[in-house]
Symmetry: C2
Subunit: 245 residues, 2 copies
Amino acid sequence: MAGVSSALTEAPSGESAWRSRVIERSTRVARERASERAQQFLDAARAVMNEKGSTEFTVQEVVDRAPHSLRSFYQYFDGKYELLLTLFEEEMGLAVDSLIAASSEGAPLDRLERVLRDLYDLCAPSRVSKQPLFSEFAFRLLADHPEEVAAAFAPLINYISEVVGEAADAGLLRPGRPRRMAALLVQTATFTAGRNVGARQPITGDEVWEFCLRAIVPDNVADQRLERAQTMTRPPLTPNTCPVT
Amino acid sequence: MAGVSSALTEAPSGESAWRSRVIERSTRVARERASERAQQFLDAARAVMNEKGSTEFTVQEVVDRAPHSLRSFYQYFDGKYELLLTLFEEEMGLAVDSLIAASSEGAPLDRLERVLRDLYDLCAPSRVSKQPLFSEFAFRLLADHPEEVAAAFAPLINYISEVVGEAADAGLLRPGRPRRMAALLVQTATFTAGRNVGARQPITGDEVWEFCLRAIVPDNVADQRLERAQTMTRPPLTPNTCPVT
DNA sequence: CAGGCAGCGGAAACTAGATTCTCACCCACC
DNA sequence: GGTGGGTGAGAATCTAGTTTCCGCTGCCTG
């Protein structure tokens, strides 16, 4: 008996090839099903969250909406927190993709402006399509598990670092490390959009962009950009960015 | 019946003077005691929080430490959330006072630098004296009740607005509204210190200050300040200031 | 001094929500 | 036809916040 169990459990790593094939075959189906089910829970959760406009739903509500039982839920997720986290990562992944796609054309500073403004809009709490994950859960998540938020933001930071790097190569920026600049820009856009701590009226996307631009770009370049922007969008009171709740 | 109840409950406001005097006298003692007890709960909560280094304590723990019962706790606070909020407001008030006191001397930009750096330090999560209220609870609070956070920050914003106004009057700043600049500065310092979303190494206070300074001050003034700071700490290494002229 | 009353301590009860457990069932596979 | 792992349904458990109950103690008032 000792021999048998030893043969089964202590097989030399050289034999592991066929073993993994067998395991892979016999678990592929299970994994596919698991992935599908998890997705169904995620969809249900998204639906509930959009209805309630907040992350304060109960696990039961999600389960009721999904074609599975509570028991299964806990088979696929460690708990509510992990559900939220997964949802957050998924949404963030999509959002980052679309931010990147929407800002892939043009001069470096144009792209940077585009991506930061879009990021601001995405994180603003009072937007048309409520995103409780970004405006509400992200803050909580950030308080509890900053590493995971950082991981979710990483692709965006990477991308913005590249754009910043290009702008720097074009001689448009003050000297500095692109990656750290990118982090500062993302933080500023995200948090200033998310909530505002001091102003009676929320800080607008225009203000955030001007602040960020000034922070990293020398005056002559910034003046030129901002003047051009102002003469193109004549009105002094930028009506299109006023949040209409 | 209607007459009596009407006389008692609908007394004309002209009679309310003596009424309030009576009420005031008979409740003053009660109010003083209440205030003292509430303070004892607050002290106990602070102690528990410092021990645990987080706001994840239970009401029971606080009550056990305070010389009063759970029942009394709920007589003085609407619940745990209100306890935390009160604590936050108290700490924030003290912190703001000390920020203001520590930055009351000097030229406007020196004062601004001082107050923003101190604010950064205050909000940094990995401080010697852990401040779970600022690094942890503030985020949660901000997600749930931004108005209250805004109220707690208001005195600081007012103060910084003044400093910014003085700097502007001295011709050191680009044109802009002091109050909104102040809000952006506070947001940037607070949130960038609190958590960092994108950098492998945390953004430092120096970086935040430079970012903020650049954002609101024209290049010639900023260059001058930053050069001076750099030559004071280390030998000159700034050959290139502005690639595009 | 008796009665009423407001505040309080102590402890149990209540609640909501998350998480886990029990048990029966079903169905692909042997 | 068996059978075992995964599953549905829902009860049970656990946690932490909140509320309630009961009896005690001062204190004011008639």
